[in-house]
Amino acid sequence: MIIGEWKPIEEIVTMLDKHKNVLLVGCATCMAECSAGGEKEVETLAPLLRMAMKVKGRTINIYTKTLERQCEWEFIEELTPIIPKVEAVLSLACGIGVQAIAERFPEVRVYPGVNTTSLAIREEPGLWAVRCEACGDCMLAETFGLCPIARCAKGLLNGPCGGTRNDGKCEVDENVDCVWKLIVERASACGRIEDLMNIRKAKQWSHSSHGGQKRMLREDLRP
């Protein structure tokens, strides 16, 4: 799923500075799963913002709504009756949802309430960790199902750097396993360590965002 976390309240308050009527929109898909922008979070942030504004001597009227998915036009339509009542929308969706609303309703200002951080898995309750960078050129076959693009701080393709800590953690974060240590362990367990002898050539980053704006076109699906 896509994960994200609330922006600092102070930043949100500053964004909404000039607005009196705001629509706070949640997204019941990824942002609900990662507890950043589902209905619970919308119903927490709305009263919190009212208080935060009041502390600063201002009042704000906040409408709330949580959509099934903010990245689908059909669901976004549900906002149509509320939009005329507000000057701004604060979206708790990932960056995709924020932009979809901005695109659909150009007459209102749209603000992000969430910093979208990565494509991640919920490893344990309350703990999410990155798994994919959407590089467009998946190499998981070569790395025994563990991604060094997403999970190595240096995105190394040919083995671990010299910075692996003695306990096997990454030099950049003591809480994170060196993914190359995990890859080597997986390869050894499969009896295929020699597969890691091959030199992986420089990656074609043109398949990722570095190659320009990504589009995917499927003529067979088009109307």
């Binding site: 040919n158 003695n166 030199i199 990656k203």
Partner: protein
Amino acid sequence: MRLRVGTRLENILQEGHFAVTVEVGPPRGANPDVMRKKADLLRGCADAFNVTDNQTAVVRMSSLGGAKILLDEGLEPVMQMTVRDRNRIALQSDLLGAWALGLRNCLCISGDHQKAGAQGKLKGHPGAKNVYDVDSIQLISILKNLGDKAVQEGGDSLDEPAPFFIGAAWTPFAPPEDFRVIRLAKKIKAGADFIQTQAVFDVARFKSSMEKAHKMGLTEKAAILAGIIVPKSAGMLRYMNNNVPGVDVPEDLIKRLKSAKDTQTEAVKITIELIEAVRFIPGVKGVHLQAIEAEEMLPEIIKKAGLLPRPKIA
């Protein structure tokens, strides 16, 4: 035997001399005299001088600039190049520029992550966007092809080849330890001519890593220079043991330095003993000495280790 590039370092190794390289850190500023002073201090003490590339991700004079100053002072530099800050376009362009200026040795490394700089006393640039377009092994391949085939990574040809004497790093003790020698093999397969290792304090452990490398035939294919850091104090050893990945300092050594009457004298003694110990490990072709912020200690150490004068080459 024909020399591939013809640097002094390559010559020394080819002729079977025990090589000495030392590390010279560029200043956090633009004053060339800092490099010139270090050159004066170390002239004649080593066969080649590594110029670091923004180590610990703290901005310093570029390794290219620093290396050129050393070259002008008559020292042979090893330009270190990390893949942290430059993509393959910038790396190759800088390599061509470096070659044009007369730099011929290049050490290819991943580089410390930009967050590393924020861990010490300095601020560094932890908010920087890193590059890591290619990794250190791919950089070795790039250098190999610039030299052997006069071809860029993307496939375009060069007007003429730009051969470098290619170096790589080896951290034999970091986890996953069994893979470290395989990674060394990959670097050599990619084209590394010489290897400078992470600091060795545990000689017995290093010896066993060298045996693995020797068995794989790696010591014949590339010249391995054992990395030795001058231990300035017991506290520094303790710090490195606890915080520098891949550095393993035996407890006895820490105690020895701690109980020494004169730390500096003992530090020199320990360094010399380490040099002598690694010297006779089969496959070790030289030493790479680092005296972090204490380069003035090096001439005495190298002299007392019986490594002066450095051999002349034809």
